[in-house]
Symmetry: none
Subunit: 399 residues, 2 copies
């Protein structure tokens, strides 16, 4: 949004719901066939689409597949290219770790290496979160002069390490080659200012390997996505919104917190999300509801599985509408076509439902239908403008 | 494409074909009628459109008719407003003249003037190329202290002059008024740094007129488009592509060479283009195939002629598809509606064919059909992003 237009935003009590089916955009299995969203039986979403403005949005740029963090930043109204977020920050904020300015975080995998030092399993047999927490506890023994080190479990074999001290920098390359059968790399500075932190990371890895050495299969760690906290203005300040995040997965809570959302812990599924939505309906004016599994099934190449996840989300639509939200947006953060088993750069279908929407020719919720909608191939960052506008939160520009 | 996004481009073996029907966009002869492209019988392009994403692109800006050089630059992924290319450079590079930084080139017409010095024919009766070459040979006698002068034939009455020396500048105005019945202008500096070059050009014209004075009808020359070489990064560096140009006309070879393409000489027609495409299929990953005559017929106001040229190109589509390119784009560099007999600013229809395209409602290749496609009124420069993306040459942005 243009800086000048930010001055037009006003606060009121109207409520906006952003329902994200992660990676919802798709492709047909065969040329000319239906996409996952077109295949899914979604009577509630189809009805909603009829009473909505529909379209397609582009998170980063045409043809560019977004990661989860930039995809969500764009949905929240932030230009993702202006706010690059490293994986380490996503991981740390995702588990609610209170990162401070100057901290450097890195995502950590517990991994397995053989006698020669080569990585044989980048995920240490996918150990459970409890085991991961025990190992993180052991790593409290790591001691590096002049630096505080925090190691925290994330999920399964995933953990995060945060270094705190003077003169740190995130200009450090990954140790994780993402390959097996090779040694992990030393953490190397990518720019001169990263030298000190690279040295600290090297010492951390040395001590960690010593502590873990007899604990097969978790006798190694891999670090990637060294990152420090970006300065991102809060949604409260930028959009005069009081936002709540209802997400199951840590990373999405992390991105939400980076834009100043309150992200509630302990949510396990769509039922929890609906329960907590109702409980908190009076206390917030922007609700971000995140469903991860559409993306997971897409990434697995599981077309039918993704279809089923879409149908599960369809089933909660009436519960959301019962609360009479002023604006509802249903969309994804990017496309994850099962046929590609990966995030893709294809435009993402969306609907926006509100009192004063312009009727268009869309009669169902799907990629082809949305391509006939009012808002085709807009930037994802523009959705917040439509939401604010249809919630009467943007006043007239000019006399 | 955003600078940050250039870092996401990776090299692989997948192959992109850009087939340009110059000036393909058109208009109906009568209101409510069909355009040239809609009139043409194009069974292969129609079938391809069904299995493609279609749309319309805008080379410069809405309502702005592009010249050939900026239109092609945009197709190759270069913002034409950032890389102004003078006519002199297009002419010189088009005939393969090895321009150096600091050289100044101008397009030259052999022309006819009367006893009073007024131009009576700007094209000297459209003399053939052989005659033009003889005259250029004569002009080797021109001698200007401190400057090397190269005069080379281009095609018919068209030639190019290149000045080489210290302190030259292209800030010199045309001598060609594009009118008959008036004297040619003196070459005048448009900015102070052009004074030296203007003086050199004036001396060149003086000596040339002296050499030609008895050679009616070629007793004069006209200069326009003074230009020095712009610094344009190569496609190899910018897009990690290894590009080949298959063009008949010199100007299109010239523009291709400016972006680092290898442009093969001696190509005479579509048959040659297909033959050389096949011979070189293994050696490149980006193939630019240019067909000039759709534009020529459009410029002549010859609707039926343009229709026939489109049909000729349709006939080669199966040969291209037989090579199994990973991405095929079919489009124009601008619109040249026969009814206008000129380049126009109308959006240009295109199709992009690849494995992972999103199905849309387009069932034939034409302006109206493309206006129902997925990509309506995108910038021409964005086509390269779609091509790279659908050839899996752009990696994911962000964590």
């Amino acid at each position: 949004m243009n800086e000048l237009l930010h001055n037009l935003i006003v606060k009121n009590d109207k409520k906006i719901v952003l329902l994200v089916l992660d990676g919802v955009g798709g492709l047909p299995l065969e040329r000319g066939g239906l996409t996952e969203l077109e295949t899914a039986k979604t009577p509630h979403l189809d009805n909603l689409a009829k009473e909505s403005e529909c379209g397609l949005h582009i998170p980063i740029d045409k043809g560019v597949a977004p990661g989860s963090a930039p995809g969500h930043l764009a949905l929240f109204g932030y230009e993702p290219l202006h706010f690059p977020i490293g994986r380490g920050v996503v991981a740390a904020t995702g588990i609610g770790f209170p990162m401070k300015a100057g901290d450097v975080a890195a995502r950590m995998n517990f991994a397995t290496r053989d006698a020669a030092g080569n990585i044989t399993d980048r995920r240490a047999g996918r150990i459970p979160t409890e085991k991961c927490a025990e190992l993180c506890e052991l790593l409290k023994k790591v001691s590096i002069p002049g630096v505080e080190v925090f190691v925290q479990p994330v999920k399964d074999y995933r953990a995060v390490v945060v270094f705190r001290g003077a003169g740190l920098s995130d200009k450090v390359a990954d140790t994780d080659t993402q390959l097996t059968g090779v040694k992990p790399l030393d953490p190397l500075a990518t720019e001169p200012e990263g030298e000190k932190t690279a040295g600290i990371a090297k010492e951390f890895i040395k001590q960690t390997f010593e502590i873990l050495k007899d604990l097969h299969p978790t006798n190694a760690c891999l670090l990637r996505g060294f990152a420090s906290l970006p300065h991102i203005p809060a949604m409260k300040d930028l959009f005069k919104l009081n936002p709540l995040a209802l997400a199951v997965y840590p990373d999405y809570k992390g991105v939400s917190r980076l834009v100043g959302m309150n992200a509630i812990e302990g949510i396990k599924d769509l039922n929890d999300q609906m329960k907590i939505l109702k409980e908190n309906w009076g206390s917030y004016d922007y609700f971000f509801i995140h469903h991860k599994y559409t993306d997971s099934k897409g990434e697995d190449g599981n077309f039918d599985g993704k279809v089923k996840e879409i149908e599960k989300v369809d089933a909660i639509i009436p519960e959301i509408l019962k609360l009479n939200p002023d604006v509802v947006i249903v969309t994804g953060d990017h496309s994850t076509p099962a046929v590609m088993a990966a995030h893709s750069g294809h435009p993402v279908p969306f609907l926006i439902h509100a009192e004063h929407i312009r009727p268009d020719d869309t009669d169902s919720f799907g990629e082809r239908a949305c391509a006939r909608g009012l808002w085709v191939n807009i930037r994802t960052t523009e959705l917040i403008q439509l939401a604010l506008s249809y919630a009467d939160k943007i006043v007239k520009y000019g006399a």
